[in-house]
Symmetry: C2
Subunit: 447 residues, 2 copies
Amino acid sequence: MRFVIIGGDAAGMSAASRAKRNNPELEVIVLEQGHDVSYSACNIPYNIAAPEREIDDLVVRSADAFRQKQEIDLRTGHRVDAIIPEEKTISGIAQDNSSFRLSYDHLLIATGASPIRPQIDGIDLPGVFVVKNLEDGRGIKEFLKTRQVRQCVIIGMGYIALEMAEALSERAIAIDMIKPRKGLLPWLDENLAHQVRTHLDEQGVGLHDGHTLEKIVQQGEQLQVISSDMHLDCDMVIVAIGVSPNAELARQAGLQLSVSDSISVDHQLRTSVPEIFAAGDCADSYHLVTDEKTWIPLALRANRAGWAVADTVCGHPVRLAGIAGTAVFKTFAMQVARSGLTQDEATKAGFEPVSVQIQAKSRAGIYPGAQPIYVAMVGDKATGLLLGAQAVGTDQVAHRINAVAVALQAKMSVMEFTQADLAYAPPFGPTWDPFLIAANQLLKKLV
Amino acid sequence: MRFVIIGGDAAGMSAASRAKRNNPELEVIVLEQGHDVSYSACNIPYNIAAPEREIDDLVVRSADAFRQKQEIDLRTGHRVDAIIPEEKTISGIAQDNSSFRLSYDHLLIATGASPIRPQIDGIDLPGVFVVKNLEDGRGIKEFLKTRQVRQCVIIGMGYIALEMAEALSERAIAIDMIKPRKGLLPWLDENLAHQVRTHLDEQGVGLHDGHTLEKIVQQGEQLQVISSDMHLDCDMVIVAIGVSPNAELARQAGLQLSVSDSISVDHQLRTSVPEIFAAGDCADSYHLVTDEKTWIPLALRANRAGWAVADTVCGHPVRLAGIAGTAVFKTFAMQVARSGLTQDEATKAGFEPVSVQIQAKSRAGIYPGAQPIYVAMVGDKATGLLLGAQAVGTDQVAHRINAVAVALQAKMSVMEFTQADLAYAPPFGPTWDPFLIAANQLLKKLV
C-alpha cells in the first residue's frame, strides 16, 4: 500500500513519521518542492534576534534522517502539478526537471500556507522580506549580516509582525509598523489591545495603523515605504500581513474548498474525495464553540492532524475534535493569549454574547513581581455557555488560557467554569485566578 | 434574619462580606476568637523572607473596614464554646471575659484548621514556631530581628515546610529539614520527587527523612533537635508537619464528622443539621474524580465555599462542584503542581490506574531559557478516564496544571485530553505541551 504526501512541513512529516512507526511495511513517499523539511517555522523570529545562531539550528530533523532512519521515501525538489482523483495519481516535475507520475492508495495534501504579498510596486525590491520558511530566514539573516540595518518597516501588525518587531529590536533596529486598517489586534477586546499598544509605545515602536500602502521605492541603499499620507524611511522591509492556504492543487482537482479557500475536510481530515486527506495550514477545521468550519493555521493542529491522518491510513481511524481557536504570542514583554470566540465572532455565529473585562494581578498582590493582567471573557446570555476569553499582561499570562481552552472543549457553562479548581499559591496568582475573577463577573451578567 | 459566623478567616469573612453585599438588611455577626481577620496566611513565608516588610502588610482588610464600610457585626476576641442546634443558639466568652449567648437563623462554622504539634519535650521552648496565623508570623519576624539566627531546623517536609526553607534561606539562614518517614513528597511520582530533592540538595538544604523525632532541648542560646539517631543544632525550629481541622465545636454539637475528622458537608455546605453550614479548612468536600469525600484544606476552596454559603443563606442556593485536588507551590526555583489522583490514590479509590512519566521542555527546545519539565499522568485502564497529573520544573510549570484541573472537572478521557487545543508559541512551550506529550504516551498504554 502506498501513502503519498504532498508537502514536507509540520503536517506532512508528522504524518510520514507516524505512518512509518505505525506500519514499517507501508510505502511512504513525501514530495516536497523545497529543500528544507521538518523545521520550526515558529522559531524563525527568535532565531533572527540572535546573530550568533544559525538558521539551520531550526531544523528539527534532517532530510537524510527521515530517509535513512525511518525509511521514508522523501523527495525534495519535487513539485506536484496535478492530482487526478479518478486515477488516484499525481503528476509533477522532479528535481532534475523530468516529469513524474505517481499512483497512490492514500494521498495527503499538506501544502501549508503562503505569506500574502500586497500587490504594490517595490514589493520585490531587495531588502523586502516575508517571514515564512527557512529560505526567508536565511535571506533576512544574511541581509542583516552584510548591511547596516538601523531602521525597519514592518508591514502588518499581526502576531508574526509583532514577534519580528521584538526580534529586530533586540538587534538595535528601530521599528515602524504600518497597516491600512485602524486598530491594533482587532480580535482583541479594546481595553486589552490598548495595553498592548501602550507597551509597544514604551518600547519605541512606531505604530502607524490606518495608512493605506501605496508603494515601496528604493533610494540608494535605503528603502522608503509610501502610503497615501506618510512615508517611512528604512533599510529593510518585513511584510507580515497574514497567510493564505496553498489550496490551488486541491481546487484544480475539484476538491471542495472552504473558509478562506482552505481545503474542506471532515473530522477524519478527509477531503470531498475520501482517499485524499488534507492537513495543516492548507486545511480547515471545525470550531469547537460554533461547530462551524473555520480556518486557523497553527502548528499544534498541523502536527495533530498529520498524526491523525497517519493513524487512519494505517487502519486505526481517528476522529479529531474541533479547535478552540487557542493562540498565544509574545511581543517584547507583553504576552497575549486567546481561546474561543470574541464578542464580535460570537454575534456573527448567532450567539447572544455578553462580555466583561477585568484587571487583576499575575501573582498575589503583595508578592514581589506581581504585574497587572487583563482578562476579557465572553459568555452566551441564552444558554449560559462560556464562549471565549482573552488575556494580556507581562507576567504569567500564556498558560492560564489553557484552562479556558479545555473548558470550551468540554462545552462548559460560565457557571461551571467559575467552579474550576485552579491552582493557587502566592507566586502564581491571587487566590481567585484572574480567569475565575472574570468568570465570576461574567456570571453576574448572565443570570 | 440573623446569620452568625464562627471564625473570621478566609471562609468566614468571604461569607460575611458576600452576604452583606447580597442583602444589606441581613444581620451578619462574626465571632472571631483572635484579633486578626482577613489576612493572607498563604503569604506568611514570603513576608518572612523580607525583613523590610511588616507582617501587617498581609492584612487584606481591617476589622474596622468590615465593621464600618460593610456594617458587619464583627466581634474579635470572642470565643465560641458551644453550639446548641436544637435551640439554634451558640454560647461563649466575650473579649471582656463575660459569657454570651446568641441565637441564629443560619450558622456558619468557619473555624479553620490548626497546625499539628508533635507531643515531644521542648515543643514549647522559645524559638520553636509553627506557621499558621499572623501571630505566628509576628513571633518569627521578631525572633529573627532580635536574635542572630544562622541555622534553622524545619520539622516536616510538606509544602509549607518547603516554602519556609526558601524564605529563611533568603535571609542567609542554613536549613535542615527532618521528618520520620522516608521520602520527600510521597504523593509525587518518584521521578518527580527526585527532581525536587536534587534541587533542594543544590540549594544546600539538609534533608533528613526517616528520622524519628525525640525531643528539642535548649543549650544556652541554642536549640538542639534530637532524633533517635542524630541531633541537629540550630537557633530556631519551625514545626510544619501539617494541620488538622478545628472541628471540636461541631463534634460536641453532635454534627457528623468525616475524613480526618473534618466536618461533613453536602454540596450546599450544609452539615448534618441543615441550618448549620461549615466552610473552609474545617470542612470536607467531594473529590471530583472519586466522587468520595476528601479533606484538602486550601484557600480557593475556602473563599468559594464562603461565598456559596452566603448565596444560599440569602436565598440563591448554590451547589458546589467537588474539588479536583489541584495544588501548587514553589520551593526555591522549583515549581510543583498536581491535580487529581496519584497512582496510589487511584488504586485505593478502586480504579485500575496506569501512569506515565515524561520529560519535556518548558519552552521550545531551541528557545533561550528552556528548562526541563517533568510530568506524570495517571489514567484508568477500565474506563480510559484521566485521573490526575503532576509536574515539576523550574520554568512555567504552575499554570499548566489548570488544563488538567478543568479536564478532571469535565470528566474527560485521556483520549479527549490528547485533543485539547492548548496554547503554543516558542517562548511558552514545545508544539505539544508537556501535558499533551504525557497524555499521548498514556493513551498508548490505555488502548
